[in-house]
């Protein structure tokens, strides 16, 4: 697998994602500077990492979404390339309209950093094909803005099209308010675009990719991508 991890000013999980990609699936990984409008050749995956691009000023992800690299990312996605936005990366994806919706401040209005459990809602995406249906994964969250929002009509469409890939849940997969850390609509933790090649995810798989960090469930996502690409992207 050849992966590129975008670095915006203020990104702070770029090195973590690179470490996870290299150690779990030996991906050939490089960084991609936010000002470049061209992509390296033969890239399979682009990751928009977590952090505080542009200090999270104005709206999270807003300024990063309007940088030159995002034009290239859009073209890449339109051609079917795999794009994963984690945390701030998810916010960048919604701000750049590669994914629907907006991400608002947590209901608690505080930053929340802790381990969470999420349920896999779909296993037919490149990001989850190594998971079992309804499998519960343990991955940490760390954000101040993580409440996924869409107007009513659109949320029902999103659900109908089965675009929700991860939901916050209890340890046994229960979906209820008490296991929704940030007030996200419908416990949404991760979604894909129509075509299924662009995913936004609030929890951090790179923080749960090694046993020594408490969980290696996040490695399932890197492994899924690896398998998908090995199979020729189908």
């Amino acid at each position: 697998m050849r992966a590129a991890v975008v670095v915006f000013p203020g990104s702070n999980c770029d090195r973590d994602v690179i470490h996870a990609l290299r150690t779990t699936v030996s991906a050939d990984t490089e960084t991609l500077w936010y000002e470049s409008s061209d992509l390296p050749k033969n890239i399979d995956l682009i990751v928009l990492p977590g952090g505080f691009s542009y200090g999270d000023y104005l709206r999270c992800g807003a300024m990063a979404a309007r940088t030159p690299v995002m034009k290239a990312v859009r073209r890449f996605a339109e051609k079917g390339g795999l794009v994963l936005g984690i945390c701030n990366g998810f916010q960048v994806l919604t701000e750049s309209r590669l994914l629907p919706g907006a991400i608002l401040a947590n209901q608690s209005l505080t930053f929340i950093c802790r381990s969470c459990t999420v349920r896999v809602e779909r296993t037919d995406t490149p990001f989850t094909l190594g998971c079992r249906e309804n499998q519960v994964l343990e991955m940490p969250i760390a954000h101040h803005e993580g409440l996924y929002f869409l107007p009513d009509e659109e949320i029902s469409r999103l659900k109908k099209e089965k675009r929700v890939v991860f939901r916050y849940c209890g340890p046994d997969g229960e979906l209820d308010d008490s296991h929704n850390p940030n007030g996200s609509l419908d416990n949404i933790a991760g979604i894909v675009n129509e075509r299924g090649n662009v995913m936004g995810l609030m929890p951090h798989p790179e923080r749960a990719s090694e046993k020594i960090l408490g969980s290696d469930d996040g490695a399932l996502i890197w492994n899924s991508l690896h398998i998908w690409l090995e199979k020729g992207g189908r």
Binding site: G50, F52, Y57, H144, I212
Partner: protein
Amino acid sequence: MDCKIFGLRKEEYETIKKQLGREPNEAELRILGVMWSEHCSYKSTRRLLRQFSSEGKQVLQGPGENAGIVDIGEGLAVAFKVESHNHPSAVSPYQGAATGVGGIIRDILAMGAWPVACMDGLFFGDPSKEKTAGLMQGVISGIGGYGNAVGVPTVGGKTVFDGCYDGNPLVNAFCAGLVRHDGIVRSNTAKPGQITVLLGSRTGRDGIAGAAFASARLEEDTKGSRPQVQIGDPFVEKLLIECCHELLSKGLIVSMQDMGAAGITSSASEIAAKSGRGVLIHAEKVPLREKGMNAWEIALSESQERMLLVIEPRYFDTVAECAGKWQLECAAIGEVTDDGRFRIMEKGKTLVDLPAEIVGGGCPEIHWPSIPLSESLTKDLTDTVEPEYPDEWGNHVLDLLSSPNLKERAWIYEQYDHMVQINTVVPPGGPVSVLRVKGSERLLAFTMESDPWSCGLDPFAGGAETFMKAARPLYVCGAQVLGMTDCLNYPSPEDPGNFWALEESVKGLATAASEMDCPVVSGNVSLYNESPAAKILPSPLVGLVGLLSRREEYLSCGSWNEGDKLFLVGPIKGSLASSLSKRLLCGLSSGRPFVFDAAKERSFRQKALETAHRSLASSGRVLAGGGLTVALAKECVLSKIGAKVDPECFMEAFEVFFSEGGPRALYAVPSGKEKEFRELWDSFGCAFIGSVSGERLRIDGFLDLDIDDLSVAWKG
């Protein structure tokens, strides 16, 4: 000349005149007023700080630089330090705390290290007061707001509540960074011909005379204190870290300094003095944010997110290009000279011309009178007031667990990103926080502790116990203690009783640290923590860095298994004097705190390390606040299993179960390891107290509590 308005004492002013051989001009006076303030000059405490030993073969850098550095093997080292940001946080909780974090991170950066972990020591007043609640929220979100954005995990800390901090909150920020031995940057390497470069944000009027502000009592009306408020920009700090490391990796930096208190003045004069050189600053070359700033304002501005670099002139363009890439301001503002002077010129006119070494080091020490607080103290120490023991132990334990000083801190550390950089192996929540070092088997362990109540009763014993409180959990988890940093938080040294407590507690700290072979490599002093309403207890805070050579050496806590045998090692009793239990029951501390016994502590260290390294226990926890019962309760809750404890062997049960201090720990030992464990500890004191089983914590004849109730009391 009224030198007071510049913060100088009469005799200091005379010294300046003598050293200069002339009258200083206004700009010079303002600069010396700040540089000779308590905060920058340590004039009241320099003598005391000499008691700290920084000896140790692991020490690569002792006190005197921006941070101390200890060797962790494999060519790697850890730079660490703690700083106070007490006064700014009192006035502007969010910004004060945030800029405290920013400042300590830049200190670590200045050593050439990559910041990998922060901790925060917080001291608040009565939490039921509306004012405290607001302040607390501001401080905690400030620390999180900065640390989270800048991408350095906050992996632990200490939170203390006591009425004495009403109006005088304390905010101490700790940072540690990793650096290769050959990447360490020092400030004594500048040579004539090299230039000084200002990197980072533009300079504004913020924080002018902040250091002087930190060296005075807080006045009732802080509304007028606007100039002291600095606004932090973690976004720029993140860019600054990236940019400095890019420059370091290309070998472009000779020396660097962060701009903390007293801004350009302190950073430039420090490089000059340490290198035995001089420095010349051209005020008009400093990129400004505001119009009409005069030279001394520029020289003393504490605008955040700036670094001063010393580089070879031929590299300037490369440095500027890198700065541009990271969207940072970059300007050559002066040069290193060989005249030993600190000079500021503006458009060719010399405004300041002082010997570099008197700027930072010229202030004469002050020896404040010191008088033992004999009266009140002996009264307290000999006071034998026995608390009224509760009939219902169970409720007392629940009260302890839910009291502000013991209650779980998740509501704080979950507001901090404690995982970014993916090194956090043991997150905050337990007595030690543990980080891995990527590419190595080694693990770093951190603790932060303070015990103002013991220090208030018997400052020497309290100082020693403060150190031990931080050290023992490291021993129990299996970590060697590599080094210490400290923040000495006290009220005004001008009161002889206060000064005596300061002296004694520093002696206690220094004694314990050196007896336990722990070098003190960095630290900070914050005096004058008093307001018209109250003065703080002596509140020294200790941060320790420990090392484990392999994952297998680590012994966790909260990891009981069904059938484990429980042992209390060490003296059966600690002291109730300043215990939380006594404070809760009597509303005060009184009596004699635990007396430091070096031989005993060393023996404890050796046995605790062996217990961990030989995996003789499934769980170990030092007895801290709340004593044995609270340790049992926390272990039950975390292990999600109960225990049956039989205190038959104990006389004076209350003291045994609630006293604090001393080399005492609770271990859970699997039955297969019992024999070895006993053999190791028997000579030290090792009492079998019960076993792990069921879903309740039961102490026969005293209490019987459901784990869920314990959990709700502690965490709810």
